[in-house]
Symmetry: C3
Subunit: 271 residues, 3 copies
């Protein structure tokens, strides 16, 4: 590790800054440095941390591509509901790294499931502002699912695809006191939202992991979706990267507690 | 279940939409569809989910009347503190379904206990905007409690009424390291706020259950208040409905984890 | 306890109000009563609770000085991210009780660690408004750490100072699946932020305890920092006071659950 080597560190410190600026430019576009410069007056250290740590150390990591990282950031900020200016910056960032407006809207629908309709609605409001500004309004086409299937059947199909049967256990466990909440999980969460084809299953699971980690109040669901992600081919490394990235957006406790959940899932599956 | 019957489903899908629009009109009043139409440009699916799922599936359920549901929604949104536009919409909704401005203010006082004074203050700010707009300012009369009793005595009375003695155990358990926090629970939370007569005890407990479920960080307190609600005559069904409704406003993880707490309380009491 | 003595109570009630107003004036400055008076129209009870309970009962308590309490309040509101108007009021309050703008900025850097960069950025935005209004812009000087040490070494030094070796265990525990998250804890959280010299270690730990208690999603980290606070000479009483104060800003469940964590730490250390 070069961190104990003074010369190595200096080189590395420079690397961090350059890596950070390079990524920030890809995400932020032509005005990428406006939020950083805005800190020059009273909190230059926070600006430096943003470039060096958030971008140079974390976002630059291998193991998860920038494009996927950016959608996870949008997902987390929408779910948290406490970061409207940052959500707008990162919606623009998502467009800049290649996501379509329609795909960004899709993330807000997923936020309705994990953080509630107000989070989704406020996410849409923020996204709309950016889309209008950029002249990138999405086609408002609804994605309809296979009309041959009922919502329940469609939902069970989507659930089985990711849960490999264990999702049925969650629904089953609700039959004692809240069977209809279980039905809503199948019909609405999976049938209406998660089963939509706009985002592939891996992205749906990674953005869900980002949301549940950032919220910090959804540990059982985080475990379910780490399992689901692994079931559809997401790697341990991609999951760890997604959770680690949340240290930047929701703080270290959120990331550390998320890693705790991941460790338990990885260990249980290795048995 | 008609969900596997294609014709049944189509009928049911229509029912959901019609039920949803009917309820949305009762809540939203003459401009009930403004938030839905606003989604037409970029997220029509979210608008459809709001009508079909949030209103058609959830709010329309039997087991809890619309008026009570609406006050629980206001309570949850105030406690969360991340949904100012939705809070204003639902404060208007609460007026529309028959709550007085004074009763809505009362919910904000309860939010001070469970989510802190900033949540209550920001809730009041949102409510005031709606009251002014509607010309429905409440009489600003303070409700004073029985002057014969000290705040502590008044609080213990309110606590005993709902806890049937188990509340004393919570206070007792704080005597080791934070006895004055226990005293504040009695004097302020119960004596000043919860013991106020404006809302009846059942409503106080149901709005508290809504807040604790939506926050997701108050599981022990959620358990205490599910017990308290049952002690004052709220039914298991009403509790399950209140928690289930939080899937709409705070996301499925909040509702699912709340049901987990309810299951434990129901089971313990059945022993 | 005078609370059962009617005359005593009346005297005490008056005391609470007078104590409350006196403290509110110290915090709020010349316009200290604007937020209280703003409640006169629809929620005078909430205004009375603010003076009598928040200030008269809680903030006035011995065991933690007003200046430290005020910085803890700023920390908690920044971390929560749901209380922008109250954050501005309390940033001004922090200036009024003697904190410098630079010290307040420092708290926002700590918020980046525990609640994420968006919380810190929005905290800075709120603080800047107040600083400009007051003509009290901080010198924007960066504080650089000892250039002889790498960030990792500097971080380990800061970690050891507060953890007395147990911090190494946390880092060690991450080596299995997220070693670099452990490295970020050392390099960024401790090396870049916590090890900065602007605030002394006791203040850093108390503001951290305030944040983790208020968030309600950082129980393991709250335990770590209660231990760290005790290691650097903070007393049990100061910790209990900090947590108790969070009942005002984040609600009673946050404070009660924080006391639960403190009890466990105190008990474990007494063994």
């Amino acid at each position: 590790m070069s961190s104990k080597d003074k010369d190595g560190l200096k080189a590395s410190a420079t690397d961090r800054f350059e890596r950070g600026v390079d990524l920030l430019r890809q995400v932020g576009g032509e005005n990428y440095d406006v939020p950083i410069r805005a800190l020059d007056d009273i909190a230059p250290a926070l600006g430096r941390f943003t470039v060096d740590f958030a971008y140079g150390d974390v976002i630059s990591r291998p193991g998860l591509d920038l494009k996927t990282r950016q959608l996870c950031t949008v997902a987390a900020l929408a779910a948290m509901g406490t970061a409207a200016p940052q959500l707008r910056y990162h919606v623009l960032g998502a467009l800049n790294v290649g996501w379509s407006a329609q795909e960004i809207v899709e993330v807000m629908l997923i936020a309705a499931v994990y953080a509630g309709f107000p989070a989704a609605l406020n996410g849409i409001t923020g996204a709309r502002e950016v889309f209008i500004q950029q002249g990138m309004m999405p086609a408002a086409s609804e994605v309809a699912h296979d009309e041959e299937l009922s919502r329940y059947e469609h939902g069970m199909q989507a659930l089985d695809q990711t849960s490999h049967g264990s999702g049925a256990a969650v629904i089953e466990s609700l039959k004692d006191i809240a069977p209809d909440l279980g039905r809503f999980v199948v019909e609405f969460a999976y049938g209406d939202v998660i089963g939509r084809p706009t985002l592939d299953t891996k992205l749906t699971e990674l953005t869900t992991i980002a949301m549940c980690t950032a919220l910090g109040t959804a540990q059982p669901q985080l475990g379910v979706h780490i399992n689901a992600a692994l079931n559809v081919g997401v790697t341990n490394e991609e999951i760890v990267e997604t959770i680690t990235q949340m240290a930047v957006y929701a703080g270290f406790p959120a990331a550390l507690n998320g890693i705790g959940v991941a460790r338990k899932v990885f260990t249980d599956r290795a048995k």
